[in-house]
Structure formats: structure tokens, C-alpha cells
Amino acid sequence: MDASDDRNLDALLRAAAPEGVPEGLAGRVLATARARQRRGRLVRWTVATAAVLAAGVAVRLWLDSHAGSLRGLAARTEVVAPLPRHEAEERPASASFAVVLPSSGAATHSVMMARFDGRVAICARPKAVEDEFGPTPRAMVASISVD
């Protein structure tokens, strides 16, 4: 057994190897790869949106559960420069979607989500105050990039 045996074997294997290549392989590769890229982007966007929604729900639950104590705290401390109500009610002109999360009971705020310019914003808008002599609840806003 020597190098010529190896060469003979390699030549035999090459003779038996597939000759033609599948037609349109490059096109199929591109189409499959693009489809996978789209699917990946959709999954990432869905995860980011779910995270923002979860954060919004958590904020609303926190506001609901702390409504009483916040009012008590606000009654004992001075409220520093609450946002004027008309500013909190402004909606970005380029918002692609906006949703107001339902609230009930003693919630002091209604929570609204909106997406604009590649960011998702969560706004906590004060509800109408029943006790007009009490402190005015503060509006809050936070945003997160979804790019």
C-alpha cells in the first residue's frame, strides 16, 4: 500500500462524486435567508413589545395598589411642580399606535402607551380628582427604544 493506492482511490471517489449542482441554489439560499431574517426581526420586535406591555401593566398595578398611600404622602408633603395637565394630555403627532390600558377602582391615573419614532412611551395621566381640595396627582412619562 503506497501513495499511488491513495491516488487511485481518490480518483475513483472523484469519478463517483456528484457532477451537477442543484439549479437555482443561490436564489433558494437568498430567499430562505431573507425569510429567516424577517422571522428573527418579528420575534425581536414581539419580545420588545411584550416587555414594554409588561412594564406598563406593572406600572398600572403599582399605581393602583399605592393610590391610597400616595394620596396620604402627597397630603403630608408639598407637591413640587406637577406637570400642567394639558402637557400630559398631548399626544406625539407621529404616534403609530396608542392604547389606553383599562383601569378601575381607586386608580388615580390612567395608563396610556404609544409608539412613535422608534420608541414606545408609557404615560400615566392623572384621572379627574374627586376631592378638589386634595393634592393634584402628577403625570408621569417614560419611554423605551424598540429599534
Binding site: D10, A26, R28, R36
Partner: protein, 177 residues
């Protein structure tokens, strides 16, 4: 040297998003990749699927390739990994194998040789088949092939020697001619 430069410039263009550059890369590599996939599996149908999967993965990961000139070795490594993953999947049913045996290619001249080589390759252990496939490819040194397979150069040479011995035994009647 010029071919390497062309390849590197194609890879750079493909990384920048040029579909035309990607098509040319695929066309330049599909035939050797198909032969390598066949040698890795001993199955012509499966080899075509593996080549497509490997090229899709290469397309999606091409930004991770730091040296554009290393594209050929890099895509072969992806192909070997893809074939290794495919090995753990269920094999096709006997019905499909019988259908494959009736394809026009198998009735042409040389069909007997092709079938004998396919059977001999399929009978090898995966480690021996991988070593033989990379040796047939001819573009990698022992050290490079060993690195692709994740073993030492010595182990690669032992596997290759064993693979060739078994193939010679199984294909003795064709080698005499």
C-alpha cells in the same frame, strides 16, 4: 493571488449587502461544497440539502467573518458542522430510498460505481468519513483539517488511514480495473 483578491472583494461586497456578490460566491463554491457534503454523508439527496442549509447559515453569519480571504475554509467548516448536526436526525424511510434508486442518474453509465461508492461511504464511521471527505477536498492541510474536525493532526491521519483502508476493501473490484 488574483483569485484570492477577487474572492475577498466578493466577500466584502456580500457583507455590505450585495446580493449579486453573494450569488457569485455561491456559484463559485456550490460544486466543491456539494462534493464535500456527499463525501461527508454518502447520500446525494441529503448532500444537496446540507449545502443549502450551510450556505444559508453562512449568509446570515457573514458579518462575523473577520478575514474575507478565509471565506472558503470558513464555509467548509460550517458545512461540516451542518452535516454533523444532520447526522443526529432520523434517516429517510426505505420507501424514499427505493425511489432514489430509480432516478435517471442511477440508471446511467457508472451507476454501479456510484452506488458502490455511496454504500462504502455510508458504511464508514462518521469520524472516518469526515477525515476522508476533507482529504478528498484537497484544499486543507492535515493541521487545518484536524482543526475543522476538532481533533489532533495525529488523530486525523489515523482516521484517514482507516477510512482509506476500508474503502479500498469495499471497492477492490473497481480499483483492479
Amino acid at each position: 493571488m488574483e483569485a484570492e483578491t477577487d474572492l475577498a472583494s466578493l466577500v466584502v461586497a456580500a457583507r455590505a449587502g450585495s446580493e449579486e456578490a453573494w450569488r457569485r460566491l455561491v456559484e463559485a463554491h456550490q460544486a466543491p461544497l456539494l462534493r464535500l457534503a456527499w463525501a461527508l454523508t454518502g447520500d446525494r439527496e441529503l448532500a444537496a440539502d446540507i449545502v443549502q442549509d450551510a450556505l444559508v447559515e453562512a449568509f446570515l453569519r457573514i458579518r462575523q467573518l473577520r478575514a474575507p480571504g478565509a471565506f472558503s475554509g470558513w464555509v467548509r467548516t460550517i458545512l461540516v458542522r451542518t452535516a454533523q448536526r444532520r447526522r443526529s436526525r432520523p434517516k429517510p424511510s426505505p420507501e424514499r430510498e427505493r425511489e432514489d434508486a430509480r432516478t435517471p442518474e442511477t440508471t446511467a453509465v457508472g451507476a454501479e460505481l456510484r452506488q458502490a461508492v455511496d454504500r462504502a461511504l455510508a458504511a464508514l464511521s462518521p469520524a472516518c468519513r469526515e477525515a476522508l471527505a476533507l482529504a478528498m477536498e484537497g484544499s486543507l492541510s492535515s493541521e487545518q483539517a484536524a482543526a475543522v474536525l476538532g481533533c489532533s493532526p495525529g488523530a486525523y491521519r489515523v482516521r484517514l488511514h482507516e477510512a482509506r483502508r476500508r474503502m479500498r476493501e469495499r471497492l477492490a473490484e473497481f480499483l483492479k480495473e
